[in-house]
Subunit: 222 residues, 2 copies
């Protein structure tokens, strides 16, 4: 059992606003007014400004001179760019993990893969996507590199935000993702570092394309 | 000519404290007291807290519950870990750059390499190291990925901090670095993506080992 320090007030505010950005309640380009947030949440403007810096670090807002906090844009280029760096960091993690995992690690990872199979069967798109984060987080220990972890954690909310566009993904498309993920698992088990990196890249690119296709449909629908 | 918005007050405070950490004036493990900084710089405690979040993002301090801001540790493991992620991001940049550079880009890069040769001849260790940043920054445009840029920029102050241990590097060691850098340039020009990535990795690892050797000597001397 680990005791974790409670989140600071600014972290709590950041999570609250972050969730609104991820789910699209706050939209790209929208200004978030410091005074209004402070009033609504009954917190100081200083705490809101600190929350902005946390949200900026997580790429969810831009802090602009004289304009203040603005929800970051989410164009196809943004989606491609964020997947590009996420794939670079995750393939590195996969390469390392494929070399250092031990037998006792396997069961835990197999459990997540089983969960993912269930999500695909029941067409639970968001749960499927979120399980891929859980899988990656469990793999952090193999790299044992806090900088790599921080970078991946900072990208997570933005990746999560892109998933919200993909919530209507078809079951068939999920099956394709799942097949790639199973391939990844096989390469990792075979300690095939380059194979694992290549399969993870294919998996990441497929997720990116899925999000892009849905983003296109959602703008067409809007 | 570009007009750049002046740095915010918190950014200015972060730069000031950051520079003191980079040069070792503020040492690993040292507490930075909010009230004292606010008093010395004649700024509000809120601005200092914002500066802390910026410095945390740049990996120069840790913000600990009840303890506040503490200068981050700089052990051999920290050095290895930060070089590991820096190399992962930079090799990606090198791969992309080797594919997309155009003839008109060459001269500017050649100029930096010439500058570096001069620094090695005159044994200007810090200038040599800093020129490698300049080189990387000029290459950002090839990837055209703001997330990648942000991550590399956030790592820069910490890499710079590690260099301060290497200030007494021998001229011979600089020559080895320079030879690797020339190799890198050749691979980039030859559009040899894998060769460029491998050479850059060797260059990064050599810099890391140089820093580690000097860090060992400086702790032995302390």
């Amino acid at each position: 059992m680990t005791f974790k320090a409670p989140d600071s007030l600014s972290e709590q505010i950041a999570r609250h606003l972050g969730q609104m950005i991820i789910t699209g309640e706050l939209k790209a380009g929208e200004r978030i007014q410091e005074m209004r947030v402070a009033g609504e949440l009954n917190v100081s403007r200083g705490s809101v400004r600190e929350a902005y810096l946390i949200l900026e670090r997580r790429y969810l807002i831009d802090i602009l001179p004289r304009k203040g906090a603005v929800v970051s844009a989410m164009t196809p280029k943004h989606v491609r760019d964020v997947y590009e760096v996420n794939i670079v960091l995750l393939t590195h993690l996969a390469r390392v993990a494929s070399q250092v995992w031990k037998d006792e690690d396997l069961r835990e990872f197999m459990q997540v893969v089983d969960d993912m199979e269930g999500y695909v069967r029941r067409n639970q798109v968001m749960d499927f996507f979120v399980a891929t984060f859980q899988f990656a987080r469990m793999a952090y220990r193999f790299a044992d590199n806090p900088y790599l972890e921080d970078m991946l954690e900072d990208l997570q909310p933005l990746i999560r935000r892109t998933y919200y566009f993909a919530i209507n993904t078809s079951r068939d498309e999920m099956e394709v993702s799942m097949k790639m993920f199973r391939d990844l698992m096989e390469r990792l088990i075979a300690r095939d570092a380059e194979g694992a990196a290549k399969t993870l890249e294919a998996f990441g690119r497929h997720q990116c394309e899925t999000v892009l296709a849905c983003l296109k449909n959602s703008s067409a629908a809007a």
